[in-house]
Amino acid sequence: MKYENRQPEEGINVSKGSPVKAFLQLVISTALLLAVSVFFLYLSGAWLAKKIPFRYEEAIMEKIDVDFGSQETDQDIREYLNELSARIAVHLPNPDEVSYTVHYEPEDVFNAYATIGGNIVFYKGLIKQLPNENALAMVMAHEMAHVSHRDPVAGLGGGVASAVALSTVFGSSGSQYASTFINGAGGLTAVQFTRKMENNADDAAILAVSKLYGHTVGADSLFRHIDEKREQSSKPDWLARFSSTHPLDSDRVENIKAKTLELELPTTGETTPLPGLW
């Protein structure tokens, strides 16, 4: 008997086709799958979280004892801010249980935010930039509207639901950098919701400010101010719109203007000066 090894043709055990093309097809499919999953998970997580009674939010915040700045100093500023929030609250659509606590952080940070338990934090860096009380009331009404719409707890619920589910499905399928891609794709879907929340909060805020002062003068001055001061971004507008958690400042000014026209809110009147406590 004759034994021999013949040289077989190449490519029998290896499939043909471009690996780069296959890779790109997979990336697109994975991104679509992520977007659809996060869309439904975020929606259901947020919907469920809004069912949690507001008193539970307060109880959780009490338990974890978050430090929102010193309670000893700047007593007069905190009193003023809480008094302003009380004046605004009567003009916001307030669900029964919701209450607001405004905190003041004497740091040079340009920010204000609302978190669970009705806690709203204002930084000195932001207040210093405001030209009048109307602008401050607009920002405060915006943050209070987030609380009244239950946005902080909805964001938390939606975020946790999508993060847990995504890490269960995709957690073991890649290394650290692949997770970055997955989280990025999921995050981009999630910010589409937060921008909607921001727009709804702006709508509620402009109405409340108009009711409080009898007009909307000065309400949009913060966003005008930021938009003018902002350095030219390297991102094109369409990309910034898609990837940002907040609407563009220029879009917010336009939205406020459109809402003012739609509801025929008064656009003339005197602005109220700030008390000059800072």
Binding site: M1, N5, A22, F23, L26, S29, Y177, A178, T180
Partner: protein
């Protein structure tokens, strides 16, 4: 942003170096296969009865690791299912390389052919590097009175 750049850089490196290594390796495999076809490796368990042979175990082992590009592509295929094509060439190379190494060992001990060849794979550092070992082994048939000593295996002298 820096994470995204590192991710893209690793992908590009994986694709470029992986592709280059694959091309070079296949070229070398085909050249050596043509050379070693004169020393057949046969799966049959029954050796030829027409001559007297001494027998000796010979083995060839290769450890291969995936590159970043292949690993990420395979991870995405893992979600949807289907053929894991990026690994096919990797396994094909490892299998053929192992047979070539086994034949090289057989040649070194003066064998005419290798019978009863078998192959085994085992995963190494599972989940971390994605490396596997492919082991080919068989019985080298050495024409009687020509037993030599290989580098790795001591053959019995008759």
């Amino acid at each position: 942003m820096s994470n995204v750049l590192v991710f893209l850089a690793l992908l590009l490196c994986g694709w470029f170096f992986g592709r280059r290594a694959e091309k070079r390796h296949y070229k070398s495999i085909i050249e050596r296969e043509l050379e070693f076809n004169a020393l057949p490796a046969i799966a049959s368990r029954i050796p030829p009865a027409d001559a007297a042979y001494d027998q000796q175990l010979v083995a060839g082992s290769t450890v291969v690791s995936s590159d970043y590009f292949k690993s990420i592509t395979a991870a995405m295929i893992n979600i949807f299912g289907g053929e894991v094509k990026p690994f096919e060439a990797l396994i094909d190379r490892a299998r053929r390389e192992s047979i070539l190494r086994m034949k090289a060992e057989a040649k070194a001990v003066g064998a005419d052919m290798v019978f009863n060849i078998k192959m085994e794979t085992s995963q190494i550092a599972a989940g971390r590097t994605g490396a596997i070992e492919v082991l080919a082994y068989g019985t080298a048939l050495i024409p009687r009175n020509t037993v030599k000593f290989s580098n790795t295996n001591a053959a019995m002298s008759v």
